[in-house]
């Protein structure tokens, strides 16, 4: 069942277009992440859904009720959409239990629901504490419990983990995801953190300049980005120009043969393939390798422990990036001669589309 329907929503501040015809639907119980760089309009979208901002175009429907149209604006307190802000925004003069119970009526079962929500976020029994007695991570958990308490049709999370230490973030993400799922809540998370969006959400909407570029499952977004910008925003990407006639799945690139996705076989006119560093295989020169493997020399290694990102100089090209799972047996050193090849089906984009996107990319591109 559709819980939230956002149809062609537009919003401008003076000449600045914050939202440019955004479409998004959430099913009941679904967890959707809106992922985009800062300034892409994702927070504006959240504020429009919550009712803190009015929209210029389109409409927003919550559980079948239209809550906003241009000129029609249901105030925030009647939408029953709750928010978890970046800093938690706990009411400093109220105890943890009173914070969580703020959105509940005076009826029976209030105490039980408060305790239930605190249990959900792993803070059972801490209701009597004051917010300043809690750590940053605990405060954020209370903010989540407070948002869940009134059984809202939608919970909005506005970069709720970005102010926390990296060491706390991973555990808290998992706990919050679980708490939302156990309570059956529909949730929309706004974030600029690719790892957060891909690991937490059922579906990810990638946003840029007020538009949703792609709305799909995390795996689809990572493996088959709709354009080269999305490809580079959600992970490290190499964009390789391809040669060879249309109609052939296997084309030549500077990293040897690249096989296209079956539905892209007919792409003509020198398209550009997306190759992730994980797709590149590397062996020492002289070891058994496919015939189309290309030679190279290891330039540097960024070692992360569990894996490593190896930069390889390839003659006739610039560099190639290869991600390998850490393996002491076959480990290479800078200066080693190696051979590389690409495995798996690749997504590709028409050359002119990539040209239009280039220049806006901060990430390394091979070409």
């Amino acid at each position: 069942m559709t819980a939230v329907e956002i149809v062609q929503v537009g919003k401008s501040y003076g000449d600045v277009v914050a939202l440019d015809s955004v479409d998004l639907t959430l099913d009941t119980g679904e967890f959707v992440a809106v992922l985009g760089p800062s300034g892409c309009g994702k927070t504006t979208l959240l504020r429009c859904i919550a009712g803190f901002e009015r929209i210029d175009h389109g409409r927003i429907t919550l559980g079948g009720r239209v809550v906003t149209l241009p000129g029609v604006h249901m105030p925030p307190h009647r939408r029953h959409v709750t928010v978890v802000p970046q800093d938690g925004a706990l009411f400093p003069h109220l105890s943890v239990a009173d914070n969580v119970g703020y959105g509940l009526g005076r009826g029976r079962g209030k105490t039980a629901r408060v305790e239930e929500c605190l249990e959900l976020v792993g803070l059972g029994g801490l209701g009597a504490r004051m917010p300043h007695e809690l750590s940053g991570g605990q405060q954020q958990r209370v903010a989540v419990a407070r948002a869940l308490a009134p059984h809202p049709p939608l919970v909005l999370l506005d970069e709720p983990f970005s102010a926390l230490d990296a060491s706390l973030r991973t555990g808290l993400r998992e706990d919050v995801r679980r708490a939302l799922a156990e309570d059956g809540a529909t949730a929309l998370l706004v974030t600029h953190d690719q790892g957060e969006a891909l690991s937490m959400a059922h579906r990810v909407a990638v946003m840029r300049d007020g538009r949703i570029h792609q709305f799909d499952t995390p795996a689809e977004v990572y493996r088959h980005p709709v354009d080269s910008w999305v490809a580079q925003f959600v992970g490290e990407a190499m964009l390789l120009p391809l040669e060879g006639p249309a109609g052939h799945a296997e084309r030549m690139s500077r990293l040897g043969v690249v096989r296209l996705r079956p539905d892209l076989v007919d792409l003509a006119g020198g398209p550009t393939a997306l190759v992730r560093p994980e797709q590149v295989r590397i062996v020492r020169a002289g070891t058994l390798a496919p015939g189309h493997a290309v030679p190279g020399r290891v330039a540097q290694i960024a070692y992360h422990g569990h894996d490593a990102l190896i930069t390889v100089d390839v003659p006739g090209s610039q560099t190639a990036m290869v991600r390998v799972i850490d393996d002491p047996v076959t480990a290479v050193e800078p200066g080693d001669d190696v051979r590389l090849w690409v495995e798996g089906d690749c997504t590709a984009y028409p050359a002119e589309a990539v040209a239009a996107e280039s220049g806006a990319t901060p990430l390394p591109v091979v070409g």
Partner: protein
């Protein structure tokens, strides 16, 4: 709605300024120029500026020195001196002048304690906290890492002090000393008691003794111009200060070891404290007993206290009514207009009380006659002078209830009024209340505007002290001085706490132990690499 209120409030606060300029322009600028370019005015200008310069140099030496000693060295008793060094601010300048004059005969029975240098001494001793407090706060907040970097690059302690530490607090030093100059220019009580002819004293004499309205007005406009020049300079130091704001996390400062010299530092701090606080204490001890046992003294003091209470209460009400819209606008809507309005409120604050009082006298006589000789015109003067205190309190209070809290409240299904009642009001009331208390105490201490505007027959603590001192009845003045010092000590304490120099906990430490229980960082730290790796 809010903007309209703020505009109205600022307009009210600027009445004296506008009225003064209007009158000057009406009388004609050539005539004004003729009256300004006389030897007498030149002499007044020279004296005022010279006094300002001498006092600010004195404040720099005493203020920066004390600040450095108590925040960055191992001088004995630095925790105690951090508080003591701020205390002279609690003594209003006219009370200070009274206490010095009233004990001067103990040293020399012939020479009177008056004139330029005694005034410079007294003003320095009671103005240097304007330099001390901001500089000490800046030294506490300054990024230690910069000094550590300088040391690691081979600079010695002295070289680091002069090339890194002091430049870091330069905006605070410049701002503080300009504040001191502003204070000296606006001071009326001390210079009148110590008989130095500066602008403020000349304006008062011209108006009350000579009934020379035009002369008083001319001098007022000149003083106003001088004040505006200093204010412009001060706002520049404020702007340039922004880039020095430290972003680093502050760690406890490692104090420099002065060795034997720490006893010299102690002697310096003791000397300043003895002069600034010992002399008033001596005067109180000497005169309060005699003053209280004087016939009718208790009834007189009670009447003056009642007078002070009533005018201060009216002043506080008017000030806070005006401060709320300006403060809310400045806190919630950071636009150019709100910044300008806030700035305008501060300009009014820097106007000398004597100028505000005088222009409101003329305003009352010519425009608002029903208000003249009522408490409300005096309350208006207080509002003009102390609006920034109220505005600052409202801005601070509004910061306690950021809009995000109200948004969360609304998203949880409560309407605007309920959110205001349950969230905004409980969070802002303490701040607004504290601001009102500060304004109230400032009204109690105010002297020049009160002298000019009080309804006939109404006496306050400040006016009684001034009158008794004027005729050298020190015993009669002493109880008022005592009460005023006690009253003024309260806001000084608040101010000193706010800068973080005095014992107050600077950073609220969150109990980290709790983290260990629920967040289990031990396990997560292993995963950190994975998390950051994926984030690029």
């Amino acid at each position: 709605m809010l903007t309209a209120g703020a505009l109205a409030a600022t307009a009210v606060a600027l009445i004296p300024l506008v009225y003064l300029l209007l009158r000057t322009v009406q009388a004609g600028l050539p005539a004004w120029w003729d009256r300004v370019t006389t030897p007498r005015v030149a002499e007044l200008t020279m004296t005022s500026i010279l006094l300002g310069v001498v006092v600010s140099v004195g404040c720099l030496v005493v203020g920066v020195g004390s600040a450095y000693l108590v925040t960055r060295t191992n001088v004995p008793g630095r925790g105690l001196f951090a508080v003591v060094a701020a205390l002279p601010l609690a003594v209003p300048s006219y009370v200070a002048a009274f206490t010095w004059v009233s004990v001067a005969d103990l040293w020399s029975s012939t020479a009177r304690f008056e004139g330029f240098w005694p005034a410079a001494l007294v003003l320095t001793l009671y103005t240097y906290p304007y330099v001390y407090l901001p500089v000490a706060a800046a030294l506490v907040g300054a990024d230690q890492a910069q000094e550590e970097v300088a040391r690691s690059l081979g600079r010695g302690p002295w070289s680091t002090l002069f090339t890194v530490t002091l430049p870091q607090v330069r905006p605070a030093v410049a701002g503080g000393s300009l504040l001191a100059v502003l204070y000296v220019l606006a001071d009326f009580g001390a210079v009148s008691i110590l008989r130095v002819d500066t602008f403020t004293r000349a304006i008062f004499t011209a108006f009350t003794a000579g009934f020379d309205r035009i002369g008083a007005l001319t001098l007022s406009t000149l003083l106003l111009l001088l004040t505006l020049v200093i204010l412009t300079l001060e706002s520049r130091t404020r702007r340039s200060g922004a880039r020095y704001s430290s972003r680093g996390t502050s760690r406890p400062v490692q104090p420099a070891d002065l060795g034997v010299w720490r006893w010299a530092g102690l002697a310096g701090l003791l000397a300043v404290a003895a002069a600034a606080l010992g002399v008033p204490a001596l005067s109180m001890v000497r005169w309060v007993g005699a003053g209280v046992s004087r016939p009718d003294s208790v009834a007189d003091v009670a009447a003056a206290a009642a007078g002070s209470l009533s005018v201060s209460l009216a002043g506080t009400v008017v000030t806070m009514l005006l401060a709320v819209p300006v403060g809310l606008l400045a806190a919630r809507h950071s636009s150019r207009l709100s910044a300008a309005l806030e700035r305008a409120a501060y300009v009014a604050h820097s106007l000398p009380g004597i100028v505000v009082g005088l222009s409101l006298v003329f305003f009352g006589v010519t425009v608002a006659l029903p208000l003249y000789q009522t408490t409300w015109l005096l309350a208006l003067a207080y509002a003009t002078l102390f609006l920034p205190l109220g505005v600052a309190a409202v801005i601070g209070a509004a910061g306690q209830a950021p809009p995000s809290l109200e948004e969360v409240g609304q998203s949880l299904g409560r309407n605007r009024w309920e959110v205001f009642r349950t969230i905004t009001l409980p969070l802002t009331m303490p701040g607004v209340g504290a601001g009102a208390a500060l304004v109230f105490l400032a009204c109690m201490k105010e002297l020049p505007a009160t002298l000019l505007l009080r309804p006939t027959g109404l006496d306050t603590l400040a006016t009684e002290l001034w009158q008794a001192t004027g005729v050298q009845r020190y015993a009669e003045a002493a109880p008022y001085a005592f009460l005023l010092v006690v009253l003024a000590a309260l806001p000084t304490w608040v101010l000193a706490r706010r800068t973080g120099v005095v014992g107050a906990p600077r950073l609220e430490r969150r109990p980290e132990v709790l983290d260990l229980v629920t967040e289990d960082p031990g396990d997560n730290r292993v995963l950190t690499g994975a998390g950051t790796g994926g984030e690029q």
